[in-house]
């Protein structure tokens, strides 16, 4: 089963690190990713560029509108997404508990991947009916 692990970090804290500290952190994290990959647990993952590089789309007055950055103003920001292949929730917890980023102040939110196959099937049926009409 897949678990989406959302890793949050505090950019101010990272900025305050020495280069040696930052390198140590990065090396440890990549090494752990390799370990996860070697054991088939690393299904996918992406790092995110900083918040100010993104924008948010939403619906306003019947049109799509956009705004810089995301809405939430928190100290922590989403730094990356890891799709973990684990047997169950506790296995996912165990694997992420060993992630070196935790030691450096990052935090992870672990969410089971949703199974939309039933919903998609129902939706396809509804849409099929519409076109048949």
């Amino acid at each position: 089963m897949k678990y989406i692990c959302l890793g949050y970090y505090d950019p101010a804290k990272h900025a305050g690190m020495t280069e040696a500290e930052r390198n140590a952190m990065v090396d440890e994290c990549f090494e752990y990713d390799d370990h996860l990959r070697a054991n088939g647990h690393f299904a996918a993952g992406e790092a995110l560029q900083p918040r100010e590089t993104g924008l948010t789309l939403y619906w306003k007055n019947g049109k799509v509108a956009s705004t810089d950055g995301p809405y939430a103003e928190t100290k922590e920001q989403l730094g990356g997404i890891l799709v973990l292949e684990a047997r169950d929730m506790n296995h996912a917890i165990q694997l992420i508990s060993q992630h070196p980023a935790l030691k450096y102040g990052s935090l992870f939110e672990i969410r089971p991947a949703g199974d939309l196959s039933e919903m998609m099937k129902a939706s396809e049926q509804r849409r099929g009916k519409l076109t048949a009409r």
């Binding site: 990713d33 647990h41 299904a43 996918a44 993952g45 992406e46 790092a47 929730m89 506790n90 070196p100």
Partner: protein
């Protein structure tokens, strides 16, 4: 863990019991399922962040081999885990090593073919994986490095010979006693036993007990933390401690069984697991080196109750009580085994509440109809049960049994006395039993009022619908 309201998990009520249902997904998730889609390695990030991008996954094993490995996982993972726990001395590390051993099998076996003895192969792979993990942790964390060396020495010591079958069964018993240690919160005991000994996933257990996976995952995390913090050893307790600790284990097993006592077929999974655990516990030697009588009693009780599974609900999922069940649907093999175990337990003269309940179930199992049942003997057994385990619910069952041979008036006056004591004021089965006796006496208005009272006390939730339909059906009959 409260898998059911307390009134539902009380000792089996022979005539009036309406058990709750719970749904455990019968088909477990395939273990170690792999992503089919290939991924590409690409990292376009500007800022260095602790989260890496992708590279390819290990190649997929051929279909039939990966199915063999999945089957092996289902049948062997519990044993392998228990043995790794003994060798490694750490539940989390053993679990991770076990998963990685199976992942290694998926990767290696397509090239090398299935080994002659997959189990020792997996245990050995698990040991090496654990050593790797400790080395990795030791490198990153100086405090872990001594621990890694110690572990390595211990694992290497035991590396020479593959554990024997018997030794592996003992390992499982050790793990059961650890999972059911009284220092652990009771809901954690149940969850941990199902996950670590029975090999169910967090999500499956959560579904069975109607909680979210995150809630259940937390219970497991907390229970494991207690084991670690209190350094609870992985061992079967000895003589004087045994009977006390065994009581806690049997309670967990019976809770698991009751959680699976369902009108729906999906509950069968948990009951099967509970019966499997009961069989394992037969190997725990008592002071006389024979199985403990209460283990035989509980296993007998579970088998006798399970023998009626096919008969106790209709195709529509409606509850069918004992007096209306088609007894030809009862499983004769389970009855024979259950009775034999119960008789052995009774002969020991050291039996307790589980054995007495099994004896009551055995009397029913041997009767061809409700009318020809020896209700006097059942009443005597309830008398003894009340002496060792006083409970208003047992008294209620006794009242129903008395009504069966002494007449509904007798039973009714006993039930009314019980209700006057107010301990059963919120217990729906007390009212449905009263209703049933009133119905038999032709006191229709009173019967209807009591059925309605029972209905009010059963929550209008999806899982309680069979019970509600049952009461509504009885009300309909009285129109």
């Amino acid at each position: 863990m409260q898998p059911a309201p307390q009134w539902m998990t009380e000792p089996c009520a022979v005539l009036v019991t309406i058990h709750f249902d719970c749904s455990l997904n019968a088909a477990p998730n395939p273990p170690l399922a792999r992503t089919r889609g290939e991924t590409t390695a690409h990292c376009g990030c500007v800022e260095l962040s602790p989260f890496a991008s992708l590279t390819g996954m290990p190649p997929n094993a051929p279909e039939d081999l990966s199915r063999t490995i999945e089957d092996l996982y289902r049948s062997e993972s519990g044993r392998i885990l228990a043995t790794l726990v003994r060798l490694i001395g750490d539940l989390d590390l053993a679990e991770e090593a076990m998963h990685e051993a199976f992942a290694a099998a998926l990767e290696t076996w397509p090239q090398t073919g299935l080994p002659d003895k997959p189990r020792p192969w997996l245990i050995s792979a698990g040991r090496f994986k654990a050593i790797d993990a400790m080395r990795r942790r030791g490198r990153l964390d100086a405090a872990q490095s001594d621990l890694a060396l110690q572990l390595e020495a211990r694992v290497n010591e035991t590396l020479q010979e593959a554990p024997q079958e018997e030794e592996m069964e003992d390992d499982r018993l050790r793990l059961i006693f650890t999972c059911c240690h009284p220092a652990l919160p009771s809901e954690g005991q149940v969850a941990l036993t199902l996950r670590e000994v029975c090999g169910l996933t967090t999500e499956e257990i959560a579904r069975a007990f109607l909680v979210t996976p995150s809630t259940l995952a937390q219970r497991i995390v907390r229970a494991k933390a207690v084991i670690r913090d209190k350094a609870i050893p992985y061992q079967v307790p000895v003589s004087q401690e045994l009977s006390e600790r065994l009581g806690a284990v049997l309670q967990v097993v019976y809770l698991v069984f009751n959680a699976g006592y369902s009108a729906e077929a999906t509950g069968a999974g948990l009951s099967r697991e509970a019966i499997r655990l009961g069989r394992l516990l037969l190997d725990v030697p008592g002071p006389d080196l024979l199985p403990e009588p209460e283990v035989m009693g509980l296993l007998g009780l579970m088998l006798l109750q399970e023998s009626r599974r096919a008969a106790r609900s209709s195709a529509e999922g409606d509850v069918i009580l004992l007096d209306r069940q088609d007894r030809s649907l009862w499983d004769r093999d389970q009855i024979a085994e259950g009775i034999a175990l119960t008789e052995r337990a009774l002969r020991s003269r050291r039996f307790g509440a589980y054995t007495l309940q099994a004896a009551i179930a055995a009397v029913h199992a041997e009767s061809s109809s409700a009318a020809s049942t020896d209700w006097r003997q059942i009443t005597l057994l309830y008398d003894r049960l009340i002496r060792i385990q006083p409970s208003p619910v047992v008294e209620l069952n006794r009242a129903v049994a008395i009504a069966m041979y002494a007449g509904p008036e007798q039973g009714l006056s006993l039930i009314d006395d019980l209700l006057a004591r107010e301990e059963l004021a919120d217990y729906p089965l007390a009212y449905s039993a009263r209703a049933d006796l009133c119905r038999r006496l032709g006191r229709v208005a009173e019967a209807r009022a009591a059925y309605e009272k029972a209905l009010v006390l059963i929550p209008d939730e999806a899982r309680q619908q069979p019970e509600r339909r049952f009461l509504l059906g009885r009300l309909e009959e009285l129109k």
